[in-house]
Symmetry: C2
Subunit: 311 residues, 2 copies
Amino acid sequence: MTLLRPALLVLALAACQHAPKAVADQPLKALTMQDVLDASTPDDWRRPDPENTLYLELDSGRVVIELAPDFAPAHVANIRALARGGYWDGLSINRSHDNFVVQWGDANGEDPAKAKPLGEAKAKLPAEFTRPAEGLAFTKLPDVDGWAPEVGFSQGFPAARDPKANLAWPAHCYAAVGAGRGMEADSSNGSELYVVIGQSPRQLDRNITTVGRVISGMERLSVLPRGTGPLGFYEKPEQRTAIRAIRLAATVPEAEREPIEVFRTDTRAWDALVESRRNRRDDWYRHPAGHIDLCNIPVPVRAIPAPEKKP
Amino acid sequence: MTLLRPALLVLALAACQHAPKAVADQPLKALTMQDVLDASTPDDWRRPDPENTLYLELDSGRVVIELAPDFAPAHVANIRALARGGYWDGLSINRSHDNFVVQWGDANGEDPAKAKPLGEAKAKLPAEFTRPAEGLAFTKLPDVDGWAPEVGFSQGFPAARDPKANLAWPAHCYAAVGAGRGMEADSSNGSELYVVIGQSPRQLDRNITTVGRVISGMERLSVLPRGTGPLGFYEKPEQRTAIRAIRLAATVPEAEREPIEVFRTDTRAWDALVESRRNRRDDWYRHPAGHIDLCNIPVPVRAIPAPEKKP
């Protein structure tokens, strides 16, 4: 009997294993995601810039965040200054709202007498909800999206744009990192950050400044006990999760940096990956959807492969 | 200064408080979700049928699952038989896959010598991926959906339909509960169940039998530590979460039943709630989206209100 038992195979996503073959040699529709990754070449991957990479260090391990200076240059510059100044070190994760966000910053920030000084960083920044669509690298998806005229990926970031209005913005997909704000549009400065942990809250798009996305370690944030106070804030200080440090990768010795690379989103291999998600070719699937939503496409991350030995 | 500090207000979802007013008296576009709930009448709420309600009892508390007999009658009948027979009592949650599913059942199910007997329940059932659209109560959303010709709600369940093919099916939104299966379409019997804990994996629609959805206690499942084995299964037995029992509410003494009610999805109040999510009117929002996705609409659940005292 070839049927594997449900207990282990249920929802199996494992693809059939084919011998790797260069993506360009194969018809676009025949591949599974695993096929695409197996057939990828070193040029299909990129290494995040250490100047645009944050390490959020928790007792449970490291969370890696890639920053988005193309979308939020002022916030990213401020976040770099905050990280260099050790602003978050010793602060905490203060909020865990089920199916919405986990958020960190200064739990005493409301009290000017107790708030941690921002150091070299600015207290006030302009809102960076959108940017001009012109000049932004953008790999457009053909699939319909209800939230925006066009959606696609810009250097790894799920994003949207409105060509008529010449505007583009990052999309609030799972793992998106944004800068908390108050009632005023320009009341964020990057010191208070949140990450999306559930169904993509795309209604936040164009309403808040998105500064990056988690590329590794999401599972250290998504499992945090939910807060029982209003908006998912913890009610007691001891329920918070301590932040050991948030460091800019550029300031971390090279040997301690996270040795990962990210799948590029502007290649033919990327198009093949998207198609493999649009129409699942795994044997398990009976009804390929013929559609993919922006927030259902994973951008693969892997350990940097060991250099091949010359024979 | 009226600006509240970001630390508490960030992403504030609280609506402006207006005096409650019957929903029918107000223009549809002016309401926030809180307005809609404040103005709701007892007829806008319903109490889940105890014959269609499961209690998943964990050390951390109770998870309430509403079953979907209109979509999966054979599976729901089998699940009732399994619960009545105490099938899951003493079994465990065996899988937690980040941004995908948490899954429970018999960790020894693969070994016929060790598998727990199904009792009165059937070992084999037909696949129930879809059902006829005709005859199904359905409140259609006007909003575009990439995955299906039409989407909407059927008695609380986010669902989709294809009128031309006369098919309808539940949608894999956050909190959807499905019956795990192997490679064969008809290899599920309801003993192995999973719940969606991340971005809605709508690609599973029409590929697996959906049997219900969690209406209370999702936060007890979504925070479970992620498994580090293939597909998010736990690698060691001690990492699993014990299931005290899964009981059908109808078999639980009334005093121990969960005293909750669910917002109806076929009323004018429901239409107002959907519109309040499509265009956020909270003061915090600067750019109402003008769109809502099926899986971004919460179906409110509340404690049954105390009866009003007659003066």
